[in-house]
């Protein structure tokens, strides 16, 4: 698909978007003057959406007249190489969000990171283990402990009861956080030694 085609498709999409917004602004709302109450609640979004529609139509006219650089460009919109790396990232993000719904944040995050570091980045195992394990531990400490914002855990909810017990009932939770990091470092060091021995 060339940039020229993409520009037209995007303009059509924005026209549909504007029409949709205009329609939903009139949905049970007044778009004009309401006696003694001033402009109705649909007034502002409706006329803004009309403006969006006019802009999109202007873009199409300019596209037809080949007035903009995008409407003259025959370059590929997204090259194959870009499509692979961007597509993989978007797919992985979709899987991550779906994973948060079903298996919880603290299972989905390591899996996402594992996939990204190993498959996309091709990093070695010790680095992958350290980061894919360490980042979720850091996120847990930051959100659940420091900010007190619980992230969705889905079916792993019960696994965290003992952790919460430690977190709320002792003042030394930071020791456990450091311990988790130390454990991860030890594992990744062990993996490094093992892989080196096998290669040697």
């Amino acid at each position: 698909m060339s940039v020229r085609h993409a520009d037209l498709l995007m303009a059509i999409a924005t026209i549909l978007m504007s029409l949709g917004l205009m329609w939903s602004s009139t949905d049970g709302l007044a778009i004009g003057w309401v006696a003694n109450k001033g402009p109705g609640s649909g007034f502002w979004p409706f006329w803004l959406a009309v403006g969006m529609l006019l802009c999109s139509i202007t873009t199409i006219v300019r596209w037809y007249l080949r007035m903009t650089p995008e409407s003259r460009s025959d370059e590929t919109y997204i090259s194959r190489d870009a499509a692979v790396v961007v597509g993989t990232s978007v797919a992985a993000l979709f899987a991550l969000l779906a994973g948060i719904h079903f298996i919880g944040t603290y299972l989905a995050l390591p899996l996402f990171l594992l996939f990204y570091f190993r498959v996309v980045g091709r990093h070695d195992w010790p680095a992958t283990i350290m980061l894919a394990g360490g980042i979720p531990v850091f996120i847990f400490a930051l959100f659940e402990w420091a900010l007190q914002i619980p992230l969705p855990k889905a079916l792993t909810e019960e696994w965290f009861y003992p952790v919460f017990d430690i977190m709320y009932e002792t003042d030394y939770f930071w020791i456990f956080v450091l311990g988790a990091f130390a454990l991860l470092a030890a594992i990744s060091f062990a993996v490094r030694v093992l892989t080196q021995r096998r290669e040697g």
Partner: protein, 512 residues
């Protein structure tokens, strides 16, 4: 003047409180890192880190974010010089002379000059900020709803007149940001509006962070993943104490153009559409024009590194002036800061100076301190930051993605918003590839609720008479300026066409 000095002294004292000082040092370091990484700029850093600042009180939070903003302006130069890729768009002009200097083995000279120039730019602009902010806020106290609305129209008009992007697409970007801001319960009538597909997640509206993190976090990462295919070559930097002293000594050579660039950068920075990138380019041009040796620019002149770096730092301070005094952000980054202030329960605008003086003066005081600390941290750790640049992007990208997702969840704690954020990120990426500017949309979603309220209040008090915007002098001036800005691109196109016609008929040779 005396009151300004006492307030400033109070602000400085506040900046030296342990928590705030810690925030400044931490923020500067993070900012330097964010600025130095290609693909991450001040706006990305502030958008992604804002949810985490709920950890500390508002004053400490804004001090942290302002320090990140500041540090990022310094940090951009590091990758411009050592990689030849601007670390953020604001450091584009630094590449012109920074790259040739690095290639000829003078990277340390360029880095030192950039840091010192940033410090000069920062200092001059902070002083200007301190002098201009209180009178401007006092003047703005007279503003009623019509003036507020006219001012916002003016802010958006700067994008049309000075943004330099495709005009219909710029207006579209502004309008969609404003419409997205109306989703949820109407603040005046209490009626639910634009609840798409009857999903209850839209009832609490679309938080500006959802759009900001979507576009500047996820969309930006996708964009950078696409563009950073090639390998990068880091230039070696050798720093010695004697060399450093010699470099500091060479300030004399560029101090005049740098100071001029700082003042220019500050005023350009106050305009919402202009900001740090054009300011640094203009400052570079200015330094070249006034130089005794303009031919050496682009081949490795230290003044060519210093001038844009001073200007982009000055512009970042400048963009805070309208945010603090008028409630109108001067850049996308300050738009996110403004949104953050609303979350923290502060009402941005002229009343901030009288109602929350601690907050305002704490911020101003912290700018002085942050400026000092950033230059020290920067100079001390240049070798470390250069090492960091070799970090593969496949490690940084997933970490940023994870921060975006948990950060997008934090403000409202619904997965609905996280999905929406991903959608905005992908849309932003696709639209950006077609030259739709994204910054106006982010500014619009922050200003949207304020703009709608002031418009409806004005119309209500005037009984629907639109003339209210033209009868009051301040608002009439703003509207007139806005109309002039909107017509400016048309005027340019008309003149260009006329010149082309003249060139075709052969009466007059074309100029450039």
């Amino acid at each position: 003047m005396e009151t300004i000095l006492t307030s400033l002294a109070g602000g400085l004292l506040q900046a030296f409180e342990p928590l705030n000082l810690l925030m400044i040092i931490f923020g500067c370091t993070v900012g330097l890192f964010v600025g130095a990484m290609p693909g991450l700029g001040s706006v990305n850093g502030v958008a992604i880190l804002l949810p985490i600042t709920f950890l500390v009180p508002p004053t400490a939070a804004i001090i942290f974010l302002a320090a990140v903003y500041y540090g990022a302006m310094y940090g951009g130069a590091i990758s411009s010089i050592t990689l030849g890729i601007p670390g953020a768009s604001t450091a584009v002009a630094t590449v012109f002379d920074g790259r040739p200097l690095a290639m000829s083995g003078k990277a340390d000279q360029a880095l030192t000059a950039a840091a010192i120039a940033s410090f000069i730019g920062g200092t001059i602009s902070v002083v200007l900020f301190t002098l201009f902010a209180p009178p401007l806020a006092e003047f703005a106290l007279k503003f009623g709803p019509p003036e507020e609305f006219a001012l916002m129209v003016l802010a958006f008009a700067t994008f049309i007149g000075l943004g330099g992007d495709d005009i219909p697409k710029t207006i579209f970007s502004i309008l969609i940001g404003l419409v997205l801001a109306t989703v949820g319960l109407d603040i005046i009538s209490g009626k639910p509006r634009l609840i798409f597909f009857d999903m209850s997640g839209f009832l609490h509206g679309i938080n500006f962070l959802v759009l900001a993190i979507g576009i500047y976090g996820i969309g930006e990462m996708l964009w950078t993943l696409e563009t950073t295919g090639g390998k990068v070559i880091v230039h070696k930097v050798r720093m010695t104490w004697r060399g450093f002293l010699a470099n500091v000594g060479s300030i004399k050579g560029y101090i005049r153009s740098t100071s001029l660039g700082s003042v220019l950068g500050y005023f350009v920075g106050t305009l919402p559409a202009a900001g740090a990138t054009p300011a640094s380019l203009m400052s570079y041009g200015l330094a070249k024009t006034f130089s005794k040796d303009p031919d050496s620019f682009g081949k490795g002149n230290v003044a060519g590194v210093a001038a844009p770096e001073a200007a982009n730092n000055a512009a970042s301070t400048g963009s805070m002036l309208p945010m603090i005094t008028l409630g109108i952000p001067g850049s996308p980054t300050t738009a996110i800061l403004l949104g953050g202030m609303i979350i923290w329960g502060l009402r941005p605008g002229p009343l901030l100076f009288t109602e929350n003086p601690d907050f305002v003066w704490g911020l101003i005081g912290s700018l002085y301190v942050a400026n000092l600390f950033t230059v020290l941290i920067n100079l001390a750790f240049i070798p470390v930051f250069v090492r960091v640049l070799t970090l593969p992007f496949t490690i940084l990208a997933p970490v940023i993605f994870v921060l975006c997702i948990v950060g997008g969840y934090a403000p409202t704690q619904t997965m609905h918003d996280v999905w929406l954020m991903l959608l905005f990120g992908i849309m932003g990426y696709l639209m950006r590839k077609l030259n739709y500017p994204v910054a106006p949309a982010v500014l619009a979603i922050v200003l949207g609720p304020l703009a709608e309220r002031s418009l409806r209040q004005s119309l209500l008090s005037s009984q629907g008479d639109v003339l209210v915007f033209f009868e009051r002098p301040i608002s009439a001036v703003c509207i007139a300026l806005a109309v002039a800005l909107m017509l400016y691109p048309l005027f340019l196109a008309w003149r260009r066409r006329k010149e082309r016609e003249a060139a075709v008929s052969g009466k007059e040779p074309p100029r450039e």
